[in-house]
C-alpha cells in the first residue's frame, strides 16, 4: 500500500483553513449516536476527550493510572511554546514553524508543523480561560522565557510545573464532561488490543487492572494517545508505566510504525549513580537560560575533582572549558538538545567527565547569581554591596525562577546547587518516532487515530523544548476534533457497534491466552531482569551514537533476549487480581519487539540527524568539522514500517518529505 499523507493542496498558510472549510461535518444531533474510544488521558488524550465530548460525541476514555490527572504529562517542567509575539521580539507563526522544522533536522512534515505553529497561540488562550495559572509579570500580563534552539522568548510556563498545570486544565475540562455523562472514564484499565472489523477500527480489548477482568469496548473510532516509548531503554526520564503497548498492538494490526529510532536524549538530567537505579530525573532545559555548562580544561583538574582534592568552585574561569560557548557562539548554552547532548558526550568520552563514573558535566549558576545580584542591588539602591549581599540578592531571583528544580536536585544528590554547580548528563527523554499518521492524524488502519507523543508527525529527528506539550494540546483541542469529524460523517447511520462478533471474540482470546501464558510460565527470572538487559543493549548500541556493526549486534542480541524472555520469565500471582508484575510483563514483551525494529530502523538510516550520531556520517572538514552529517539526497523521508511477523522482517515504506517553504540547509548554531 502506498503511503498517502493527505496533505491538502495550496499555499502552506492556507492549507488548514481551506481544509476546515471543505470537510464533511456531523450534525450535532447525530453526534449523540457516535462513540469514540480514547486510549490515554495525558495532554493529548485528555484534551481530545474533553473536546470530542463537548462537541457531542460519546467518549470512553482509558488510562492505566488511577486518575486522568496522573498521566505522564503531569511531569513536564519547563514550558509550552506559542507564537504570540507578546514580547515583540520578532516571533511569528512562520518563525515558530521555521525553528521547529530546522530544530527537527528537516525530518518532519512541513504541513503538520505549520498547522501546529498556527494553532499554538490559541492553545494559550484556551488554557488561560480554563484557569491555568501561567506565570505573569508585574503588569499582570503573561510572562515568557526562552528554550534551546531559538532566538525569541516564546515559552509560557507555570513555575517548573507547566505540564502539571496544563494537564490539570485538560483534566478539569474532562471532569466537566464526566459530570455531564459525556465521558465515561475507565481508570486503571489497560488497552491490550484493537479490534478491526471490515478493515476499520471498531473497538478495543482492555484489562481492568483491579479485577483482572478482560473487557470488550466498541466505538466508531479509536484514538490512541498513549505517550512515548522511551522506557525501551529501561532508564529514562519517563514515568515507570510509560510503554509502547497500545502503539505496538495497533502496529501488529496494520498501523505502520514510523521512525522508531528517533529518540531524544535530553542534555540536562541528573547523572546515574548506581545499578539499583530505576529512573533518571530531568532538570528542565529552562535552566540553560541561566546556567553555564563547563568541564575543566586540564586533565589534572578533572582527576583532582574526581578524587575530591579540588572542588569545582576552586577553578577560575580561565581553567574552565565552557565548551558550548566556545563551539557555538551564536546560541551558546541555548543550542538545541541534540547538539548539547552530543557535545557533553564528546567531552566525557574524551575523559573530562567530572564525577566518579566520568559521565557528568557542570551546570553552573554562579555567573547568573552574581549578575542578578548586582542588578538587584542597583534596583534597591544598595551602594557598594558586599559579595555576600550580592549573592543573597541573586540567589533569591534564581530561587524564584527555578526553586523547585533546585530542591529536587538537592533531595536526590544531597548537594546544594546554589553553592556548588549541578552535575548533569544526557538521558533518554522523548520519542519523536511513533505510529505513522497522515495529515488527519489517522493511522494506516481506517478509523484508528494516533495523537500526542505516540505518533510521529511533528518533531522530525529532534524535538525542540516546549514543543511536545504544544503538540499534545494542538492535536487534542484543535486538530483531531475536525479531522475525526470528517471520517465519522460516514458513520451516522451505522448505529451501535456490537461487541458480540467474531472479531471481538478472536481479539479477546488472543489477549487472554497471552496473560495465561505469563501467569502459568514457571520461569526463573523477573520481568525487570529482561527489561534491564534490553535497556543496556539499547543504550550501548542504539543510543546517542551508533554504527552499523553495533546495530547488527543489537538486533541479534535483542532477539536472543526475547527468546529467553518467553522461556524464562516468571510472573507470580494470578490473572484475576491486581497484578503489577503481569502488567509489566506484557509491556516488556512489546518493548522487546519494538527494540529490534528500533535497531533495524537505525541501521537503515545511514546518516546522522537529530540526536542520532551515526559514526559513519560526520563532517570531516570545513567550518562544521566534527558535527553530525545529514544526508538529504538519500534520507529525506519518513521510514514507515509495516508489520510482517518478526520485527526483522518488517517492510519499509517511504514517505518522501517535501520542503517547499523552507530551504533544506545544514543546521548551524555557530
Amino acid at each position: 500500500m502506498a503511503l498517502d499523507s493527505k496533505v491538502p493542496k495550496g499555499p502552506i498558510k492556507d492549507k488548514w483553513t481551506d481544509y476546515k472549510n471543505h470537510i464533511d461535518l456531523v450534525n450535532p444531533a447525530n453526534k449523540r449516536h457516535i462513540d469514540v474510544i480514547v486510549v490515554g488521558t495525558g495532554l493529548a488524550g485528555g484534551s481530545a476527550s474533553a473536546t470530542l465530548a463537548e462537541l457531542g460525541y460519546n467518549v470512553k476514555a482509558f488510562a492505566y493510572q488511577d486518575s486522568p490527572r496522573r498521566a505522564h504529562s503531569i511531569a513536564a517542567q519547563g514550558g509550552i511554546n506559542a507564537a504570540k509575539n507578546y514580547q515583540g521580539d520578532g516571533d511569528s507563526t512562520y518563525r515558530l514553524f521555521y525553528d521547529t522544522v530546522k530544530g527537527g533536522d528537516y525530518r518532519s512534515r512541513e504541513a503538520n508543523v505549520y498547522r501546529l505553529a498556527e494553532v499554538s497561540a490559541n492553545i494559550i488562550d484556551q488554557c488561560v480561560a480554563q484557569g491555568v495559572p501561567f506565570a505573569r509579570d508585574y503588569g499582570g500580563l503573561l510572562d515568557n522565557r526562552s528554550f534551546g534552539g531559538v532566538l525569541v522568548s516564546r515559552t509560557f510556563y507555570a513555575k517548573g510545573q507547566t505540564g502539571q498545570q496544563l494537564l490539570l486544565g485538560a483534566y478539569s475540562a474532562m471532569n466537566r464532561q464526566i459530570a455531564r455523562g459525556k465521558i465515561e472514564m475507565f481508570n486503571r484499565h489497560e488497552m491490550l488490543d484493537v479490534v478491526v472489523v471490515d478493515g476499520k477500527a471498531r473497538g478495543i480489548i482492555a484489562r481492568n487492572l483491579i479485577t483482572g477482568e478482560i473487557e470488550r469496548h466498541s466505538a466508531h473510532a479509536v484514538v490512541i494517545a498513549s505517550g512515548g516509548y522511551g522506557n525501551v531503554y529501561f532508564l529514562s526520564t519517563n514515568a515507570m508505566g510509560s510503554n509502547v503497548t497500545a502503539g505496538w498492538k495497533i502496529h501488529k494490526k496494520g498501523a505502520h510504525f514510523a521512525n522508531p529510532c528517533y529518540t531524544q536524549i535530553h542534555p540536562t538530567c541528573i547523572p546515574r549513580s548506581g545499578d539499583y537505579q530505576s529512573k533518571l530525573t530531568l532538570m528542565s532545559e529552562s535552566l540553560r537560560n541561566d546556567g553555564r555548562i563547563w568541564v575543566p580544561k586540564k586533565m589534572e583538574d578533572v582527576m583532582a575533582i574526581r578524587e575530591g582534592r579540588k572542588k569545582p568552585t576552586d577553578l577560575s574561569e580561565e581553567e574552565r572549558d565552557y565548551y558550548l560557548e566556545r563551539r557555538y557562539p551564536a546560541f551558546g548554552n541555548l543550542v538545541p538538545r541534540d547538539v548539547a547532548s552530543r557535545a557533553a558526550k564528546e567531552r566525557c568520552d574524551a575523559g573530562f567527565g567530572v564525577n566518579t563514573t566520568g559521565e557528568a558535566v557542570y551546570l553552573d549558576f554562579k555567573s547568573a547569581i552574581t549578575r542578578y545580584g548586582i542588578e538587584q542591588a542597583k534596583i534597591h539602591n544598595i551602594k557598594n554591596p558586599s559579595d555576600a549581599k550580592i549573592y543573597e540578592l541573586g540567589q533569591a531571583i534564581v530561587e524564584a525562577k527555578y526553586g523547585n528544580l533546585f530542591q529536587m536536585y538537592e533531595k536526590i544528590v544531597d548537594q546544594d546547587p546554589y553553592k556548588t554547580p549541578m552535575m548533569i548528563y544526557p538521558a533518554v527523554h522523548y520519542t519523536m518516532g511513533g505510529v505513522w499518521v497522515d495529515y488527519n492524524l489517522m493511522t494506516t488502519i481506517p478509523g484508528c487515530y494516533c495523537i500526542g507523543e505516540a505518533n510521529f508527525s511533528d518533531h522530525g529527528a529532534n524535538r525542540l523544548g516546549a514543543s511536545a506539550l504544544m503538540q499534545g494540546l494542538a492535536d487534542g483541542y484543535f486538530v483531531l476534533p475536525y479531522t475525526i469529524g470528517d471520517y465519522l460523517s460516514g458513520d451516522i447511520r451505522t448505529g451501535k457497534i456490537s461487541t458480540d462478533t467474531p472479531e471481538f471474540e478472536a481479539a479477546e482470546k488472543e489477549v487472554s491466552e497471552r496473560i495465561n501464558f505469563f501467569v502459568n510460565n514457571k520461569g526463573t527470572k523477573s520481568v525487570d531482569y529482561f527489561h534491564k538487559k534490553l535497556g543496556k543493549v539499547m543504550w550501548d548500541k542504539a543510543g546517542m551514537s551508533r554504527n552499523a556493526t553495533g546495530l547488527k549486534e543489537a538486533m541479534a542480541e535483542i532477539k536472543a533476549i526475547r527468546e529467553e524472555f518467553w522461556k524464562e520469565v516468571s510472573v507470580p500471582g494470578t490473572a484475576n487480581e491486581m497484578n503489577p508484575e503481569l502488567e509489566k510483563a506484557g509491556r516488556v514483551a512489546d518493548f522487546l519487539e519494538l527494540g529490534e525494529l528500533f535497531a533495524k530502523d537505525a541501521l537503515m538510516r545511514e546518516e546522522s540527524c537529530g540526536g542520532h550520531f551515526r559514526e559513519e556520517s560526520a563532517e570531516l572538514d570545513g567550518p562544521q568539522k566534527g558535527e553530525a552529517k545529514r544526508n538529504d539526497e538519500d534520507f529525506a523521508f519518513v521510514a514507515a514500517w509495516e508489520y510482517k511477523g518478526e520485527p526483522a522482517d518488517a517492510v519499509l515504506h517511504k514517505e518522501e518529505l517535501e520542503f517547499n517553504d523552507i530551504e533544506l540547509k545544514q543546521r548551524s548554531y555557530k
Binding site: A75, M408, M578
Partner: protein, 246 residues
C-alpha cells in the same frame, strides 16, 4: 544498610490484611525509598512470592501516586517530599521500618499498599473546573490581566498533587486541604468567579458525601503535605462557602 520491613499485606479489597516482616540487605543510602521497595520485590519475585503492590509512576514527586504510610507518617519522615523523593539516607543500618497503606474510610484498600482515591476525582466532577467551551474560540489570553500576586497565589494552590497525604494524616480523615486548594485556585482567578458559589457548594457537598471527616484545625495536613499547601486555603474555602450560603 540492612533493614527489617514490616509491611501491610492484603490480597484484595474484601480480604483481611496483616503485617508481614521482611528483611532487605545491602541497601545504599543513595536509593530512593521506592528503589528500596524494588529491591525487596525483586527478591520476592526471585523466590516465587508475590511482590508487594504499591502505586507509583513518575518517581519525581509530581504524579501523586506513591502513597505510603511509613513509620506512622504519610510519605515518611522527611518534610516536603513524596515517598518517591524520600531517600534511604533518612534511615540507619538495622532500622525497622513500618509500611502501611493510607488509611481513611474514603480511601478503601485495593491491595497491599494500593488504595482507591477515586473519591477525589468525584469531588472534582462536582465542580472542580471552569465551564468554558474547549472550542478554541476564547478571547486573547492577555485580555484578562491578573496581578502577579494573585497568579502566584493561585499557582501555589494549584500545586496540589492529589496524593491524599492530608487525608491520611488527619485524625478526622478530612479532605479539606485538598478541596480548599482547588477552590482557592479558582477563587483567586477572575475566570473562576462566575461559578464560584456553585463550585464551592457542590464540591463541599460531594466531599461530605464521600465520607471525609470535618476539619478541627489540628493542622497535621499542612505539616505532611509534600507540596506545602497552606491552611489558608481551608480558611479561604470556608469564606467562599459562607459567601455562597448568604
Amino acid at each position: 544498610m540492612n533493614l527489617t520491613l514490616k509491611i501491610w499485606r492484603q490480597k484484595d479489597a474484601s480480604s483481611k490484611g496483616q503485617m508481614v516482616d521482611y528483611k532487605v540487605t545491602e541497601i545504599s543510602e543513595h536509593m530512593s525509598f521506592l528503589e528500596m521497595m524494588d529491591v525487596l520485590n525483586e527478591q520476592l519475585v526471585n523466590s516465587g512470592e508475590e511482590p508487594v503492590a504499591f502505586d507509583h509512576d513518575c518517581r519525581e514527586g509530581i504524579c501523586g501516586m506513591c502513597s505510603m504510610y511509613i513509620n506512622g507518617e504519610a510519605h515518611g519522615p522527611d518534610r516536603g517530599v513524596t515517598t518517591c523523593q524520600l531517600h534511604m539516607r533518612m534511615f540507619k543500618d538495622g532500622d525497622t521500618i513500618t509500611i502501611e497503606p493510607f488509611r481513611a474510610a474514603a480511601f478503601p484498600v485495593l491491595k497491599d499498599l494500593v488504595v482507591d482515591r477515586s473519591s477525589f476525582d468525584r469531588i472534582q466532577h462536582a465542580g472542580g473546573y471552569i465551564s468554558v467551551n474547549t472550542s478554541g474560540n476564547t478571547q486573547d489570553a492577555n485580555s484578562i490581566p491578573i496581578s502577579k500576586h494573585a497568579a502566584d497565589e493561585a499557582m501555589d494552590a494549584a500545586t496540589c498533587i492529589g496524593c491524599g497525604a492530608c487525608v491520611a494524616t488527619c485524625k478526622n480523615s478530612s479532605a479539606m486541604l485538598f478541596v480548599g486548594a482547588k477552590v482557592s485556585q479558582y477563587a483567586l482567578l477572575p475566570q473562576g468567579q462566575v461559578e464560584a458559589a456553585d463550585r464551592v457548594r457542590n464540591m463541599v457537598a460531594q466531599m461530605d458525601l464521600e465520607g471525609f471527616g470535618n476539619c478541627t484545625n489540628t493542622g497535621a495536613c499542612e505539616v505532611e503535605c509534600p507540596k506545602g499547601i497552606s491552611l489558608e486555603n481551608i480558611a479561604r474555602m470556608n469564606r467562599e462557602l459562607m459567601k455562597a450560603s448568604v
